[in-house]
């Protein structure tokens, strides 16, 4: 399922990342990697960005980007 479909508080595992190369590199640098656990902390109002946690790092990303990251509950 898409990362954007998680509910706040749910923890899933990253399966694959389907973004262009530049964004993929940035996500890698922030710790997005297949096999890592990712927790959705909260979603901002008005379809704003998501706050996710990988390890001890908190990251903000828009829903459009979160739709390109596949996870498994």
């Amino acid at each position: 399922m898409m990362l954007s479909k998680l509910n706040p508080g749910e923890i899933a595992t990253i399966i694959s990342i389907h973004t262009d190369e530049a964004l993929h590199q940035r996500l890698l640098a922030m710790g997005f990697r297949s096999g890592k656990q990712i927790e959705l902390i909260r979603k901002a109002w008005f379809s704003g960005p998501l706050q996710v946690r990988i390890g001890t790092t908190d990251i903000l990303l828009r829903r459009a980007e979160a739709e390109k990251i596949m996870v498994q509950l």
């Binding site: 890698l28 297949s34 706050q51 908190d58 903000l60």
Partner: protein, 595 residues
């Protein structure tokens, strides 16, 4: 079951290859020696099932990034039956180092040179047979993207697996042990000598976040907090400003005045009413600037600004901007110049230009001085902070309006991904350093523009010598009269028009030039302004000052960062137009309502 470890640098198509090999049958699992989970999958090779493990991409087998440590620990604890090394063939000259490092490990290896389609396009040819013979291991060219070269590679992998005896020579174990020793030493040294600023425990950050990032309360809290902040600046800054003013007044009367007493009257006037009054008026703002940046430093260093990006991104997206643009807009409240330079983090040119178009509407600390002075002179102590806050709202409103109007010309698809730092207490030293740095910058700018500016104003308001100072017959009076048709519909008098012209150079000069125009400073200047203007005129003047081009430095930065004269002129023209229209609407509406 035999195990294959997939190794390689980042960005080699390793994961694409993994997905292709395993199909969708992958799972996540724990491994001895490491704390992160790794993705693995089982496939049928020849006549036996084998497990493939996708290791993180790394640059250096002996490096100390998190990923490099993970790979090293994995190999140490779980020697694979086969190491499948994926290299980007198009960057082979850079990537060969990793392969040679791995060769020292004496692992059973098969090398795949991926992205052979790209090498072909680049005209790179690799003599695979020769390389294979030189290194003593099977090497294959393939394209994970198009799926070419697979059958041969799979055959070689199957063959290599058949008679593998996983082992690791003692020399390699020593090498790894050395690296692990360095890891431990690193951790120990950092523990003993590196002080990381006090960080709230995670659950405290979480609890604060659940309030400050609350879906409904988040934004009201943010704006309430900002309001209190500016109230506090006003509350503490004003008395300090009075002290500095009194100090300069006393020095003029008892030190500087008598010192220049022997000079001719005209020169004395230039020095006392020009330079001294101008500089004294500007210097009185130093405490305010210190306070402002002290508070901004606290907001920024605590990590609250990134939270603001989170809260505002949904709204900013509707304006064609993103949360980072909002943070830059807030930074612009200090000074527009670094905020403009901060847009460099944006990769999309459209997003950058649109952000640079709205940032100059941020009410910077130089404009704050003007507003603090005028609102204190024209409004009651109770009303003044509210007036100030309303100007901040106008600052946002003009930025929003501009973005909405022009977002179609700057379409943007840039992804928004940002790290959210935990809340931190800035150290006292950090705050002091920051405050000092900003004051230094302010005084540096001031020494460049303000003295020259106030001297020029004095000359304009005192020449020709036959005219009475600051009267209609002086050069300034004539310029003011000439521009009168433009500025009278917005309630700005010829005197104030001169101040606006100088404000184009730098807003720091505006109050200084008023001091020179009226030949007085401090409380006396406030009194004169109060007697010459009503609140509607004063507010119209402040609105115009808020919206029109901030200063020459900002323009120069706009030009440099956009590399476009057209964009710079467009920004100047738009802000002047908007400033006039806004003041016009306000002034005429207020007068029509009988104020």
């Amino acid at each position: 079951m035999k195990r294959i470890a997939l190794l390689g640098m980042p960005n080699t198509g390793k994961s694409t290859l993994f997905n292709r090999l395993t199909g969708s049958a992958s799972r996540v699992g724990n491994w001895p020696g490491i704390t992160v989970e790794l993705l693995s999958g089982k496939i049928l090779l020849g006549d036996e099932m084998v497990e493939i493990i996708d290791l993180p991409g790394i640059y250096d087998m002996h490096g100390f990034s998190e990923d490099e440590q993970v790979v090293r620990h994995f190999l140490h604890e779980n020697i694979p039956d086969l190491a499948l090394v994926v290299l980007n063939a198009a960057q082979i000259e850079r990537q060969l180092s990793l392969l040679l490092q791995l060769k020292q490990f004496k692992l059973n290896m098969v090398v795949l040179l991926n992205m052979s389609d790209e090498t072909k396009k680049l005209g790179i040819t690799i003599d695979v047979n020769k390389m294979s013979a030189t290194l003593g291991m099977p090497i294959f060219l393939l394209s994970a993207k198009y799926g070419t070269g697979y059958p041969e590679a799979l055959q070689a992998i199957t063959k290599a697996l058949r008679n593998s005896v996983p082992s690791m020579p003692e020399s390699v174990r020593k090498l790894i042990a050395q690296d692990e020793h360095i890891e431990r030493e690193m951790a120990q040294i950092i523990l003993q000598t590196v002080q990381i600023p006090a960080r709230l425990p995670d659950n405290m950050t979480n609890r604060l976040d659940s309030l400050l990032l609350h879906p409904w309360l988040g934004l009201p809290i943010f704006f309430g907090f900002m309001f209190l902040l500016f109230q506090a600046i006003f509350l503490f800054g004003q008395p300090l400003q009075g002290v500095v003013n009194a100090l300069f007044g006393w020095m003029r009367e008892h030190a500087f005045g008598p010192l220049v007493g022997f000079l001719p009257a005209a020169i004395q006037g230039l020095l006392l009413d020009g330079v001294y009054n101008g500089v004294a008026t500007v210097a009185a703002f130093v405490p305010l600037i210190v306070l402002f940046f002290l508070f901004m430093a606290i907001v920024e260093d605590t990590g609250y600004l990134s939270r603001a990006a989170f809260l505002m991104d949904a709204l900013m997206a509707k304006m064609g901007l993103d949360g980072r643009s909002f943070v830059m807009l807030l930074m612009g409240f200090g000074c527009n110049v670094p905020a403009l330079m901060g847009t460099r983090v944006m990769r999309s040119r459209s997003l950058r230009l649109l952000s640079m178009l709205v940032i100059p509407f941020s009410l910077c600390s130089a404009r704050l001085q003007v507003f603090v002075f005028i609102s204190a002179a024209l409004f009651t102590p109770k009303a003044a902070p509210v007036v100030l806050f309303s100007l901040y709202l106008f600052s946002f409103a003009t930025a929003i309006l501009t973005a909405l109007l022009f977002k179609r010309h700057y379409p943007n698809t840039e992804p928004f991904v940002l790290e959210l730092p935990p809340y931190r207490f800035p150290t006292f030293r950090q705050m002091v350093m920051r405050g000092w740095h900003e004051v230094y910058q302010f005084l540096h700018r001031a020494s460049k523009f303000i003295v020259a500016g106030v001297v020029l104003v004095w000359l304009l308001t005192n020449l020709p010598p036959s005219a009475a100072p600051a009267s209609a017959d002086t050069i300034a009076g004539m310029i003011g009269a000439w521009l009168h048709p433009i500025f009278s519909p917005i309630g700005i008098s010829p005197d104030l028009t001169i101040a606006l012209i100088f404000g184009f150079v730098a807003k720091e000069i505006v109050i200084g030039s008023l001091a020179v125009i009226y030949g007085m400073s401090g409380d006396a200047l406030s009194g004169t302004l109060a007697s010459q203007l009503d609140w509607v005129q004063a507010y119209s003047f402040m609105l115009f000052t808020l919206v029109y081009t901030p200063c020459l430095s900002t323009i120069a930065t706009l030009r440099n960062e956009s590399q476009s004269n057209k964009f710079m002129w467009f920004s100047i023209a738009w802000s002047l137009t908007l400033a006039w229209l806004l003041s016009f609407l306000f002034y005429q509406a207020a007068r029509a309502l009988g104020y």
